[in-house]
């Protein structure tokens, strides 16, 4: 008779020795570093150009994001339609993304089409002209999208909590309003484009099945450009809010509130960072976390509650986020603090700690599986000025962290008085 009550024997994932596949490097003629993983089961490729062109470098709100967004909207030779038709004809996706320090162009395509696509990307990063009409359409549609988003409590809460943490002028706390979008001029875009793309600090990441002449192809299209320049950092002023608790009414008839509870937290170089990754997972970082178990699975206050460390380079924050029924928002906040207290005062038992460790190792194993996952790990490491030791030390921390160390971290970082607290209904 089959015994269904006792679980099959498992191999504890915490005993795995995870190996992060090394990435290969080569330099273009201009010295630009290309980091790549040539591997995969499908005939597909991903290439990413990462520029020092995030919103930290703009001196007028929303310029960096607008330049990044409009890179596909016209060169001196091609209209926006020409460009879009070209990429779509080859079934390729060219996405843009603008963060705080970096701005990226990401290409996904069938490997065999790379030669037809790289020349146009060269054209976009050297010869974009930001046609006035394209800018006008972009502004109009951004303003409309913003109007819709501003009705959502979660969108409003995300904007506000970053302002409390970093201040409204800090790149991490800055938001764009209708007036900012309206104020964007074509000349601003051209100036930013010249300063941060045409003359740029760029690095390239690639993964998938790459063609044999991949290195020559990249050199041919990008090896002679001014992409390996020094970009001066822009000093930023952090201005944390003095008030800690906020209640905002965005919609008087709202049936849910967006809750954000957040405190400043150092970047990945800080000695506590790796330990706090474990503490965060236990606290609110996965489905079996303390917050999820209590506030969703025990009380049913919310569809989901999470905590995470913001993905910033210079400095970061530990954030708890959820949308909960309007009538249980205050109760939810209280429970979050109770869970902090529990972690500060009571040692996590061995069984729960082993579960978290095994879970994290299992997830990490999946996260380094396949060329696209591997390159994404490497990107995170290199763009944060780290090396592979960060990965191996993180794995080591998961394996070795003790209940006492977790309690010590909780004492240091999970005190309610250090947190901003916001409910937007």
């Amino acid at each position: 008779m089959l015994n269904r009550t006792s679980p099959p024997a498992i191999k504890d994932a915490v005993e795995f020795d995870l190996i992060l596949k090394p990435c290969q490097h080569f330099s273009l003629n201009n010295g630009v570093d290309v980091c790549f993983i040539n591997d995969g089961t499908e005939e597909v490729a991903m290439l990413e150009w990462v520029f020092e062109a995030g919103n930290s470098y703009e001196d007028k709100n929303t310029i960096a994001a607008t330049v990044n967004q409009l890179l596909k909207n016209g060169t001196s030779k091609k209209s926006a339609l020409d460009i879009n038709e070209h990429f779509e004809y080859y079934g390729a996706y060219l996405n843009r993304s603008c963060q705080n320090e970096k701005a990226t162009l990401t290409l996904h395509c069938l490997s065999r089409h790379l030669p037809e696509l790289l020349g146009v990307i060269r054209e976009l990063i050297t010869d974009s002209v930001f046609p006035r009409e394209e800018l006008d359409i972009h502004k109009q549609n951004s303003i409309q999208r913003l109007a819709v988003n501003l009705q959502k409590c979660d969108f409003v809460a995300n904007r506000l909590i970053d302002q409390y943490l970093y201040g409204p002028t800090h790149p991490y706390g800055r938001v764009s309003n209708v007036e900012d979008i309206q104020a964007v001029q074509r000349e601003d875009l051209l100036e930013f484009f010249s300063a941060y793309y045409r003359r740029a600090s760029c690095r390239i990441f690639a993964a998938g099945r790459l063609p044999q002449d991949f290195t020559q192809l990249l050199n041919q299209h990008f090896g002679d450009l001014a992409l390996n320049e020094k970009i001066a950092g822009v000093p930023v002023q952090k201005q944390m809010a003095s008030q800690k608790k906020y209640r905002v009414t965005n919609d008087p008839n709202g049936v849910q509130g967006a809750i954000r509870i957040a405190r400043p937290f150092p970047n990945r170089h800080h000695p506590d960072y790796k330990k706090m990754m474990v503490v965060n997972t236990l606290f609110g970082g996965f489905f079996g976390s303390r917050l999820m178990s209590n506030i969703r699975e025990e009380k049913g206050y919310t569809y989901g509650i999470h905590s995470f460390i913001e993905n910033h380079i210079a400095e970061s924050a530990l954030v708890i986020t959820t949308e909960a029924g309007s009538e249980v928002c205050e109760a939810t906040v209280e429970e979050v603090y109770k869970e902090m207290q529990l972690l500060r005062e009571t040692l996590v038992d061995e069984e729960e700690l082993l579960l978290v460790k095994n879970y994290m190792m299992g997830v990490n194993l999946g996260d380094i599986d396949g060329p696209f996952h591997v390159i994404s790990k490497w990107k995170g490491i290199l763009l944060n000025g780290l090396d592979e030791r960060f990965f191996y030390e993180s794995m080591d921390t998961i394996k070795k962290i003790t209940a006492e160390e977790i309690r010590e971290m909780a004492h240091r970082y999970l005190n309610p008085e250090d947190f901003f607290e916001l409910i937007v209904i």
Partner: protein, 411 residues
Amino acid sequence: MIHYERFTLENGLRVLVHEDKSTPMAVLDVLYDVGARDEDPSRTGFTHLFEHLMFGGSIHIPSYDEALQIAGGENNAYTTNDLTNYYLQLPEQNLETAFWLESDRMLSLAFSEHSLEVQRKVVVEEFKEHYLNKPYGDVWHKLRALAYKVHPYQWMTIGKELRHVEEATLQDVKAFFATHYSPSNAILVVAGNVTVDRVRTLAEKWFGPIPAGKKYQRNLPVEPPQKEPAFQEVKAKVPLDALYKCWHIGSRTDENYHTTELITEILGGGASSRLYQKLVKENQLFSNIDCGHFGSTDPGLLYITGKLVRGVSIEAGEKAIAEELQWIKQDLVKTSELEKVKNKSESMIAFEDVSLINRANSLAIYELLGNAEMINEELGKYRAVTAEQIRDLSRRIFVDENCSTLYYRAA
């Protein structure tokens, strides 16, 4: 080319195995042949609520999640109008844990009153988060109800109203489990660093002893052909006027499915598509426009939706859409445009297949639709679509009698 092997256990459980030695992981996907379309109209949202209850403990295992997490695994599930799918990924060494967990909840749930009570609340919050507390959040409830008069696609998986979820009883839960959750109504896919032999042994050990259950006989009302245009206008506290239009189309297994998919790509797929280029860029009537279709097991809908630029009337936007549809009904699509949307389909398929979970998922869904081999035939079917087929099908779909229109006005 996705390789797989298939066998059936004595109790009727269909098992597919997809070996991929390049990964250290294993994926186990259990698909149950029940969706929101199988619900009683006065008990909608139940299939999805039930999906939540599948995590509330099974007959021998108090916590599904903990048992999986300690084995280094993670999981998720989703419910559609057609099916309910549960999938997990874990290190291949711990594959047996996945069999233990999934077989136990197919055998029987713990049926706890507490779990039901909590999950009712959780689903009510999910309902609020996605459909009540968002501008335009209720629009698909309205559009489905407008387009479907008798078929259960008239409601969404979350349910018609909060009350239905709030009123669910443990009795309902037990009856639903007995009807739908059994080997004869399920498909199991195991993928990753596994072998067919190992999967066969584990499947027979853990799923083999489960009673077959009765094959659920589906007998859904067939939506009669629409005879006249349907129209509804709503006013709500939203910042922009919006237009939603939809037309009845065939099912996922209809011979015209791939032609339909290419029509939506030509009209609304990406920044070089016709509607985007004409109505967002050239004429600036809409600030965004989308075109898509359900891909549902029973005959579905093709939709065009967009938000109007401030100052443009919904009527003007609607007229411009009609003019654009006239072109696709009148002229043959150019060779290069047809080639473009076929290339996009090829690359979409290739990228979807990168993920092991996606491959397992697709195999399960194609097997449910009739044959897992469809996974390898899709590209050829897209390649075979002709310009004439696109024009002719457009002529049949885009007629006023087949159309439902919703004006969503900013109050």
